[in-house]
């Protein structure tokens, strides 16, 4: 009973914070709403005995990626910008309600959660590093490519002090020496 109560509170809060994510007027509030949504959904994942992924979501996403969002907002002054929403855009919110109702009315088989004690991190690591090793390497390569991309784009802004050999060779007396007649 307590677990069910926690689920209902968590899901209600996550939907409300999701609404705050897409409807808030200032970008800072959007990001904070997404933080709260992640924490609530992480709590719901914990109810399913998936401790590893739930803490991964909270630490990695709330701790790293959303803080990155905050940095980007501070850098682009997007936080000061008011989001322009038209008056009837709220009507789009019928769409999530309709979708949730369709899934609710759908003839479900009597699905229950598997009763054994969740999946521990050892199983995840064993499968990931044997069966899914090429995929893992591919994800690592994608992250490396993105890192190189970001560094290479930002690097052009830095003025480096390099020797330009062609300009050094082309120097002659007239470009360097000017005679001043009167002092």
């Amino acid at each position: 009973m307590v677990i069910k109560l926690v689920f209902y509170i968590g899901s209600t809060l996550s939907i409300l914070f999701g609404l705050m994510t897409i409807l808030a007027k200032k970008t800072i509030y959007n990001v904070l709403g997404l933080c709260a949504t992640f924490v609530c959904v992480g709590a719901l994942w914990l109810l399913l005995n998936n401790e590893f992924l739930a803490w991964l979501l909270i630490f990695l996403y709330v701790g790293a990626i959303l803080v990155l969002f905050l940095f980007a907002i501070m850098l682009t002054e997007g936080g000061a910008q008011v989001v322009m929403q038209r008056k009837y855009d709220v009507l789009w919110l019928i769409l999530p309600g309709v979708l949730g109702y369709i899934i609710y009315r759908f003839k479900q088989p009597a699905w229950v959660f598997n009763s054994n004690k969740g999946i521990n991190i050892q199983q995840i690591a064993l499968t990931m590093f044997t069966e899914y090793l090429p995929h893992l390497e591919l994800v690592a390569a994608i992250l490396l490519v993105v890192m190189v991309l970001v560094v290479s784009v930002r690097k052009k802004r830095i003025s480096t002090k390099m020797q330009k050999v062609s300009q050094q060779v082309m120097v002659n007396k007239s470009t360097r020496l000017t005679l001043v007649e009167e002092l």
Binding site: I3, K4, F7, S11, S14, I15, G18, L19, T21, I22, T27, N30, T37, V41, W45, L48, N49, N50, F52, L53, L57, L60, Y61, I65, F69, A72, T76, G78, Q81, V83, M84, Q85, R86, W92, L93, L95, P96, L99, G100, I102, I103, F106, Q108, W111, V112, F113, N114, S115, N116, I119, Q123, I124, T127, M128, Y132, I142, L143, V146, L149, V150
Partner: protein
């Protein structure tokens, strides 16, 4: 865990994905909020994955969540880089200003 209903998790994940879609539609005037809505959609998809992984006691769904989180992180970093480059070229971060990044 026995008291929980699978369908409730599916409804929650469907609502989160639909909220992400609606966020993309109504927040086209700010590129960063569009990225936030994408994150919301990722969250709904991952909730769907983890529901079925728990129902079937299958480890593959959880590993797929791991990959989705990794690729989503890379995608968000690319998007924020685009937002930074866009903010140099125009004060307004609207989606229809993205053509200013061309060339």
């Amino acid at each position: 865990m026995q008291e929980l209903v699978v369908a409730h998790y599916l409804i929650l994940s469907g609502i989160l994905v639909a909220l992400g879609v609606v966020g993309i539609i109504i927040n086209r005037s700010n590129f960063i909020v569009v990225l936030l809505s994408l994150e919301l959609m990722f969250l709904g998809i991952n909730t769907n994955f983890i529901t079925f992984a728990s129902q079937l006691a299958d480890v593959h769904g959880q590993i797929f969540i791991f990959f989705v989180l990794g690729v989503g992180g890379a995608e968000i970093v690319c998007g924020l880089l685009m937002a930074l480059m866009l903010s140099r070229r125009s004060k307004n971060l609207a989606m229809d200003r993205l053509h200013k990044l061309h060339g």
